[in-house]
């Protein structure tokens, strides 16, 4: 569709939608600095809640668990998913269409279904629920997302540069490391970033596959939120939101530069 200046009402409407998207988050951040504990009215500025947060051992433990799960599942899913993307983009093999459609399963099915399936599976095979089962589950839903994202980025890949590399005497391995991988790296990185944030964000599947002692940050936030509205939750949310914003902005800028 061409760029034709959008009508005024459309621009106003869109502005309002953006306001609707960002307003709750803004409120969340502002009220993390509120002195009032029940957090109803603005009373005064304080950093007290951040201090409370940094001394909350449950939160610290949950953060450690979350980051560990996210790092491991991202790493594994990125490697496996990128391989799948290369396979689907460049090769034809038996079971191609079937594999392709399996990749869409976690995109479409309700998370609760995947959560209880994994729970039933782990129960049947006597897996001890905990960090390991959470990580295994995160890898499972992350592989397809990585594969789909990387594959979409492989679309415009110019195969002739690989051929040129081989003609100049490089073998497959050298060609892959020196030519292919650097070229597809932006795609791989955005796949990895998606996997990382999906893992950080996941509540439902983690909820079903977690055991005692493996509380993650989303599980922790859930129980805090259920209990009461306190500025400590706001402080935690603020840190989380700002961290994600910074990571995304940096990666966006990096991608712009490369493009």
């Amino acid at each position: 569709m061409s760029e034709k200046k959008p009508a005024l009402w459309l621009r106003i409407f869109s502005f309002l939608v953006y306001a609707y998207i960002y307003f709750p988050i803004l409120i969340l951040i502002i009220f993390s600095f509120n002195t009032q504990k029940i957090n109803v009215r603005w009373e005064g500025f304080t950093l007290k809640w951040y201090q409370v947060l940094f001394n909350d051992t449950n939160v610290i433990l949950a953060t450690r668990n979350t980051l560990m799960i996210a790092f491991v599942s991202t790493l594994v899913a990125t490697v496996i998913g990128t391989m799948a993307a290369l396979a689907l983009q460049r090769y034809r093999f038996p079971g191609y269409t079937l594999t392709e459609s399996i990749l869409y399963i976690p995109v479409i099915i309700p998370e609760v279904v995947m959560g209880i399936s994994l729970l039933a599976f782990f129960a049947l095979f006597n897996f001890q629920l905990g960090l390991v089962t959470i990580t295994l589950s995160h890898i499972a839903f992350n592989i397809p997302f990585v594969a789909l994202v990387v594959r979409a980025r492989l679309h415009g890949f110019d195969k002739s540069i690989e051929e040129a590399s081989m003609d100049l005497g490089a073998n497959e391995l050298v060609t892959f490391w020196r030519v292919t991988l650097p070229t597809i790296m932006p795609g791989v990185l955005s796949g990895a970033m998606l996997a990382f944030t999906l893992s950080l964000d996941d509540y439902v599947i983690t909820y079903f596959t977690a055991g005692p002692g493996s509380t993650t940050l989303p599980l922790r936030v859930f129980s805090m939120v259920r209990f009461a509205v306190t500025p400590e939750v706001n402080a935690l949310s603020t840190i989380w939101v700002l961290t994600v914003f910074v990571i995304l902005l940096v990666s966006q800028i990096m991608q712009r530069r490369q493009a």
């Binding site: 569709m1 760029e3 200046k5 959008p6 459309l10 869109s14 939608v17 998207i21 960002y22 709750p24 409120i27 969340l28 009220f31 109803v40 009215r41 496996i80 391989m83 396979a87 689907l88 090769y91 093999f93 594999t99 399996i102 990749l103 869409y104 399963i105 995109v107 099915i109 309700p110 998370e111 609760v112 279904v113 995947m114 209880i116 399936s117 994994l118 729970l119 039933a120 599976f121 295994l136 589950s137 890898i139 499972a140 592989i143 789909l148 979409a152 950080l200 964000d201 439902v204 079903f208 936030v221 859930f222 939120v225 259920r226 949310s237 989380w240 939101v241 994600v244 914003f245 966006q252």
Partner: protein
């Protein structure tokens, strides 16, 4: 020595075979994915399907006796009502995300190319943060002593605070907020693809902008709308976190029922039957979509 030589020779010929066979290379690259997903996604789902034909023992254990009871229980009036109610919530979420998302997607598709990715990025940005945090933000706004009530009371628009939180309305507000991007992105993808020539042709033939919109833009954006609807409707029915946090005990969706069967009532076979129902629904919708629109990239974003 002789054995070594033949071994080396065989190794080389295998390697050569592998180098020359693209099928083998493709299989080697895809097999980790296939194996992993078969083990940790397909097998668990098959397990649940099998489980749905079993029965619950007295202590919440699973008894291996083949029966259809769990499925007949699904159409029991209590559960049928929940089912219909969930569909209602799913449809309402879908409707509101279309009403809000369509103009927005249209606006982005019409904006200068260089700004489009920024606008899309701005839609996605908050959704990369945790979704429980986003629900929490709405709880702060909607609760009895929350910001909305404070604001309306101060303005004198209302005399007593509105009870919005812990009602179906609150659940709907939360759902629409959560699922909006899943509607906007596929809609944008299909709107963006529309050729300008078609719209110009319509204008040349004397069609008013509105008529051109109704006859060209809208029909061509239907695939995006269907893709968005699948991505919103089915996950909304299975959602149990928003009803838990924003609906109090009043709003129970299919997702809540499944969760409860697995974690509180410990009737796994019945919970499994509920999951199979959601799975079949997903399958039917997706097949319908792929038949109608072809497997579009709309579902991907």
């Amino acid at each position: 020595m002789v054995a070594d030589a033949t071994q080396i020779k065989r190794k080389f010929s295998l390697l050569r075979l592998f180098r020359e066979s693209t099928v083998a290379q493709g299989m080697a690259l895809i097999s980790p994915t296939t194996i992993y997903l078969l083990l940790f996604m397909i097998l668990p789902m098959i397990l649940v399907a099998v489980l749905s034909f079993m029965a619950r023992g007295t202590y919440g254990n699973v008894i291996y006796s083949f029966n259809f009871q769990n499925y007949t229980r699904l159409v029991d009036p209590i559960y049928l009502r929940i089912l219909l109610y969930s569909m209602g919530v799913g449809l309402a979420t879908m409707l509101f995300t279309v009403l809000i998302g369509y103009p927005l997607a249209y606006f982005i598709a019409r904006s200068p190319v260089r700004q489009r990715s920024l606008y899309l990025f701005l839609i996605l940005l908050p959704f990369w943060t945790n979704f429980i945090i986003r629900i929490y933000a709405w709880i702060m706004i909607l609760r009895t002593e929350g910001l909305l009530n404070t604001f309306l009371l101060n303005l004198g628009l209302i005399k007593i605070p509105l009870d919005i939180l812990y009602t179906p309305t609150a659940v709907l507000i939360g759902m629409v907020y959560e699922f909006l991007p899943f509607m906007v992105l596929p809609l944008y993808t299909s709107l963006e693809k529309i050729e300008n020539a078609q719209l110009e042709a319509a204008a040349d033939l004397g069609a008013r902008p509105w008529r051109a919109f109704l006859r060209i833009t809208l029909p061509l954006s239907i695939p995006g709308m269907i893709a968005g609807s699948i991505l919103v409707f089915i996950p909304a029915m299975g959602m149990f976190v928003v009803p838990d946090l924003m609906g109090g005990a009043k709003t129970v969706l299919v997702g809540n029922v499944i969760r409860n069967q697995f974690l509180t009532s410990r009737d796994w076979p019945f919970g499994a039957a509920g999951s199979v129902f959601l799975l079949i629904l997903t399958l039917v919708f997706t097949l319908y979509y792929t038949r109608k629109a072809g497997f579009g990239e709309e579902l991907l974003v």
